[in-house]
Symmetry: D2
Subunit: 133 residues, 4 copies
C-alpha cells in the first residue's frame, strides 16, 4: 500500500517543489510533512495558505486511494478548508483521514498541525472520486 | 491600489516559487496567472489542484484587500473549491471577485480558467477577514 | 421537464411544510420561492438560515436533474453556503443554476434573493450526484 | 448556560415547525434532535437534507454561543455540509461542537446521526460570528 502511494507521490512535481515528504501510509490515513522555507511564504513570512492546502489535499486524496481497488485512481472533486491559526511553525504536518468511503465517492478530513502536532492550523473536508486508470 | 497589492504580492515567497504573476488589479477584482512547469504537477502531469487553489486564494484575498482601508490587511478565514475540469493547460488564470464586502468580512468568488480564459477549471468561494496591520 | 420536477417537488413533505412554491423550471435553472411566516423564523424573527438553505438545496438539486437522463434521480453530495445579508424579507427566492454537468456529478450554484430579487441574501455551491432510480 | 440557549431556541419558529428538541447544552457542545414525520421528507420519503442541515446549523450556532460573553449573540457566516448516508431513521440527532473559538469568529463541527447515534448521516463545518446584541 505504501509503495502504491509513494510511487504516485513521487510523480507529483508540486510535492517536490514544496519539499514535502510522505511520512506514513495506513489504510484510510496518510501523513505528509513540509518544512518551512522562504519559498513557501505569504506576505507576513509564514507558510502560505496554499501550501497547507496543497499537502492537506494530497494527504486526503491518498488516504482515499488506500480504500480504492488497485485499478482505480483518485481525483479531488472539491474541498473546503478553515484556517484557524497562523502557520508560523518550522514544519507543517498534514494528516488525511477517510471519514466515509463509497464505491464512487470518498469523504475525507484533513488536519494540518504545527511541528509539535498539537496546534491545529487548518481543517479540511474533501470529497474525492475514484476514476478508472 | 495596484502598488499596494503588488508590494504584498512580491512578499509572497510562494507566488515566486509557483512563478505566478500579478496580471491586473481593479477595485473588487484581481487577476493572477501561472505558467505551466513540471515543478507544479500532480501525478498525471497536469497542474496540481494546490497550484490552482493557491493562486485563486491569493486573487480572492487581494480582491478583498482592494475594498479595505489602507491600515487593514487581509487573512483567509476559509474557502471551498470545486474542481470541474482537468487543469491541462499551458497557463492558469485565476480571477478573484468580491461578492460582498463588509467591515469585518468579505466574501469573494474565485474562478480559475485555462489559458484561453474560456474553460472554467475550478471555482472557489472564500471568506476573508480584515485585520489591523 | 416541468412535470418531471413538479412531480418530485410535490412529494417533498418539507417543501409543503415550508410552504415553498416551484416557480419555474428551465434546462439548467430552477426557481423556488417561500413566503415569510412565523413558522420559519430564527430567534430574531427573520427567516432561519435553514429555510434559505433548504429551498436553495432543492433548487440546485432540481436544476441538476434537468440535465440528467429520465431514468436517473439526483442526490445532494455536499454544499457550502455563505450568508451575506439578514433574511428579513416577505419572500425568499431561490435560484439554482448548473455550473457544470457531468455524467456522474453536477456542480450547481444557488442564489437566494429577497422578494425584489435584488438583494442577494445567501450564495450556495452544491455538488449533486446522479443515481439510478 | 442552558437557560440562555433554551430561551433563544424557543424563539426559533423553525425549530417548532420541525418539531426539534434541545437535548443538551454543555460548554462548547449542543445537541438537538428531531423526530421523523411526513412533514419533513424529500421525494423518497426520508428526512430532507434541509432538516438535517437546519438542526446542525442551530446546534453549531448554539455551541458557539456557549463560548461567547453574555452580551453577544451568534450569526452563521457560512457552512459546508457533506451528506454521507440516506437519512432514513426515526430521529435525527445533531451535535454541534466548537473546534476553535476566537473573539470574533468561532469554527464548529456539526455531526448528524441516526437515532442510534451510530450512523453518521452528515457532517458540517461552520463559521459563526459574534455580534453585539
Amino acid at each position: 500500500m505504501y509503495d502504491r502511494i509513494k510511487e504516485s507521490f513521487d510523480e507529483q512535481g508540486l510535492m517536490k517543489t514544496l519539499n514535502a515528504k510522505l511520512v506514513s501510509v495506513e489504510k484510510g490515513e496518510v501523513k505528509i510533512s513540509c518544512e518551512f522555507s522562504e519559498a513557501l511564504t505569504q506576505q507576513h513570512g509564514f507558510f502560505h495558505a496554499g501550501v497547507a492546502t496543497s499537502i492537506a489535499d494530497s494527504a486526503c486524496g491518498y488516504a482515499a486511494l488506500t480504500m480504492m481497488p488497485e485499478d482505480m485512481e483518485v481525483l479531488s472533486v472539491e474541498f473546503k478548508i478553515n484556517f484557524m491559526k497562523p502557520a508560523n511553525t518550522d514544519k507543517l504536518i498534514a494528516i488525511g483521514k477517510v471519514l466515509q468511503s463509497g464505491r464512487t465517492l470518498t469523504i475525507c478530513e484533513g488536519y494540518v498541525y504545527d511541528i509539535s502536532e498539537e496546534k491545529l492550523i487548518c481543517k479540511m473536508t474533501a470529497t474525492m472520486i475514484a476514476v478508472k486508470k
